[in-house]
């Protein structure tokens, strides 16, 4: 009997989000195929579970480190197990946001100016001087985030010099390296990308309008606190440009099967690349399932197509 193993959970702060994504995809696979669908967490029993079941395909739905940084995908590769999504090497590129931005900038996409500095550098050089330099270089407001991880954890907008130190501390709570990014005011959109038999396609863009004005953890995972427009309220030309960038990001980063690219469109109508997720969220409030629905596609149908494709690829 064909069997698929959905991996979710892990030890990252996005564990809860990942578990919800995993349950949703596992359920979609169960209702849309005859395959046995196993759900597993990432812990010391995982290798035994993988060896015992030898699933025909693994669906890694881990968010944050170990799930999106490529490490677990490399383990799956070493075990000879086919899996849905990016290779370890590609996931690593996407997971490191400053690196991904550099690659996209090189490919001609507008990206906000970004600086990435570890805590140790602030300690060695003295934080006050370094922060002043950053402020002068980027200009306020500044977006501060951990360089890796998702769900807006540890992210904040610095609007005054006094807010800067505490924003840095907030980012360092989640990562040893923080990134400081030019803040782009505009319309936030997410474009999901799907590889199909017909080629790599962008799904309808999802426009995100959080009630609080900031798409933070609360706005992401509390149903009702964010309004979504699908497709996004964009001109055909702009929608096509966002789709082009998302597909380009998918290809430049070497991603596979699925991804989701987050963009901000400024007042002049320029889309700015923020980041690409190699393991997009699949929860009830996530963006990828909304894009699928707008495209007239079911999660089960797509998940099934992707596991079959991954299994065939070996």
């Amino acid at each position: 009997m064909t069997s698929y193993l959905v991996l979710s959970g892990g030890l990252s702060p996005e564990r809860d989000v990942s578990l919800r994504s995993g349950r949703r995809v596992a359920e979609a696979l169960r209702t849309s195929s005859d395959a046995e669908v196993i759900e597993a967490d990432v812990d010391s029993s995982l290798i035994d579970v993988l060896r015992r079941h030898r699933p025909d395909c693994v669906v890694p739905l881990l968010h944050g480190a170990a799930g999106e940084d490529g490490a677990l995908r490399d383990v799956l590769t070493s075990l000879g197990l086919p899996f849905v999504g990016a290779t370890g090497a590609a996931a690593r590129l996407a997971f490191d946001k400053p690196v991904a931005k550099t690659l996209l900038a090189t490919a001609g996409v507008s990206t906000p100016a970004v600086l990435a500095i570890p805590h140790a550098m602030f300690r060695e050089l003295g934080a006050a001087g370094v922060l002043t330099g950053i402020r002068e270089f980027l200009g306020l407001p500044i977006m501060v985030k951990p360089t890796s991880g998702g769900s807006a954890l540890g992210a904040s907008i610095v609007r005054s010099a006094e807010d800067f130190p505490s924003a840095m501390v907030g980012a360092f709570a989640y990562s040893d390296v923080a990134m400081m990014e030019q803040y782009i005011d505009g319309t936030e959109v997410a474009v999901s990308v799907l590889e199909t038999a017909e080629g790599t396609v962008a799904l309808p863009a999802v426009e995100i309008v959080p009630e609080s004005g900031i798409y933070d953890y609360k706005s992401r995972y509390t149903a009702g606190t964010t309004e979504f427009f699908v497709p996004a309220r964009l001109s055909d030309e702009l929608a096509a440009e966002c789709a082009r960038i998302a597909v380009l990001a998918h290809e430049v980063l070497g991603l596979r099967d699925w991804s989701r690219t987050d963009l901000i469109i400024d007042a002049a109508g320029t889309p700015w690349f923020l980041e690409t997720n190699a393991a997009p969220g699949m929860t009830e409030t996530s963006l990828f399932p909304q894009a699928l629905q707008a495209a007239g596609l079911g999660l089960g149908e797509i998940a099934n197509a992707l596991v079959r494709r991954a299994a065939a690829r070996g």
Partner: protein
């Protein structure tokens, strides 16, 4: 193009649900449930210390001999035999009452809800300790009470601060409806009111005409000598006493109770019937059977010794490992110690680093309604084995040292801009 907020009822919710939102802190507690993490966060009693053979025998006998009663609806006030047995249990904290004064509830949490429902209109003032039990704060918020924290010290609620709070309200032409207090082995502060202090607090409440809501889930779990006499032992009319079998027998059975003056009790029974019809007969009769046939005092003694050993492991480790400037309370019973971090540190902001280092605690902010408490954390020693507690404190000390370094680098207190929402774990966290 279609617009969606992913919840068709979003505009229909009552205003009081506004705070029921996803939070980063709750997300971190999902990680804390993993076995790699030493959780000093949850307040789960160590029910593994119960003899499961004995429980199986108790439940089996109950079902075979009285199954048709146990599986049926029961009285809204609770089983009469159990109410008589509760009198015997409460004798240890010197509470005497008539079985008719007792209302059995689904854990004392339900009693808290019923008392608040019966007494509090939106805007009514409830005085609580600073910090206070998060489950009570949740109930008071749900009924839209105006919660005012009153300072504590090493002997619990501070009478001078209480007097001041009462006077400040009077100056505004207001008065408090209730004083909610946990006099013995406080959750989360880990301190215990002395007997003279209890008398003083009771006198202040009596003088101001404030009902005392005394929550006593840990009263029998003292480590030294006799259980402290409850405030209710000194006043039958002005105090509602809440008790629970969650910590002394088994939290999963969800059996607690309220002892209330006659008039109040009548209303509590009616409120209980409208809420749940009746508490679970099955759970009540299981407890009743257990109390009637098993050496329950011996079991409580076992729990006390087990928790004392864990408390000692926690305190010894804190003493050995915590960075300078960290202080903590020394609980004489119960489950918790309250830690104050070195100046400038923020327990809520530090939690992601702690979870990454595989140790968890509850940030102090969860125990205040006004967002204060950043500099505190609650450490719970009830569930992990002593060696795990020591390892957890070792990891925590490393996290605090790292956080001190970051705070020093940025010359700031580490206030993380987390969004609002629930900042404490659910009841099932170890």
């Amino acid at each position: 193009m279609s617009s969606s907020r992913l919840d068709p009822w979003v505009d229909a919710y009552a205003q009081r649900t506004a705070e029921m939102q996803a939070s980063e802190i709750r997300a971190l507690f999902a990680v804390a449930s993993r076995p790699e993490v030493v959780s000093l966060a949850g307040g789960m009693p160590f029910v593994q210390a119960l003899s499961m053979d004995m429980m199986a025998e108790t439940v089996s006998r109950l079902l075979l001999e009285r199954g048709a009663v146990a599986l049926q609806y029961g009285s809204g006030q609770g089983d009469v035999v159990l109410r008589e047995q509760i009198l015997e249990v409460m004798a240890d904290v010197q509470v005497s009452a008539h079985p008719d004064d007792i209302v059995v509830t689904t854990g004392s949490q339900m009693a808290l809800d019923l008392v608040t429902r019966v007494f509090c209109d939106p805007g009514d003032v409830v005085l609580v300790e600073a910090p206070s039990y998060v489950g009570a704060l949740g109930v008071f918020r749900a009924y839209e009470c105006d919660v005012i924290h009153v300072a504590m010290d090493e002997q619990g609620l501070n009478p001078a601060a209480l007097e001041e709070a009462i006077a400040a309200l009077a100056a505004q032409g207001r008065s408090a409806k209730m004083l909610y207090t946990i006099p013995s082995f406080h959750n989360p502060a880990g301190v215990t009111q002395s007997q003279p202090r209890r008398a003083e607090i009771l006198q202040l409440a009596q003088r101001a005409g404030i009902l005392v809501l005394e929550d006593d889930p840990y009263g029998l779990l003292g480590f030294d000598g006799e259980a402290p006499a409850a405030i209710r032992a000194h006043d039958e009319e002005g105090v509602i006493y809440l008790g629970s079998f969650s910590k002394t027998i088994a939290s999963g059975l969800r059996v607690g109770w309220a002892v209330a003056p006659h008039g109040v009790r009548e209303k509590l029974v009616l409120a209980a019937e409208s809420a749940v019809l009746c508490p679970s007969n099955y759970s009540q009769l299981t407890i009743s059977e257990y109390l009637a046939t098993q050496p329950w005092r011996e079991q409580i003694k076992t729990y006390r010794e087990l928790y004392r050993e864990r408390r000692d492991a926690l305190l010894e480790s804190l003493e050995q490992l915590m960075p300078q400037g960290t202080t903590w309370t020394t609980p004489a019973g119960g489950f918790y110690s309250w830690v104050t971090l070195p100046e400038g540190l923020d327990a809520k902001a530090m939690l992601p680093r702690a979870v990454a280092a595989l140790v968890a605690y509850v940030p102090g902010t969860g125990f205040y309604v006004d967002g204060s408490g950043h500099e505190h954390m609650r450490l719970s020693y009830c569930y992990p084995e002593p060696d795990r507690i020591r390892e957890g404190v070792r990891r925590l000390a490393g996290v605090i040292e790292g956080e001190l370094e970051i705070a020093h680098t940025f010359g700031t207190s580490s206030t993380l801009r987390t969004s609002s929402g629930t900042n404490v774990p659910g009841p099932d966290l170890q």
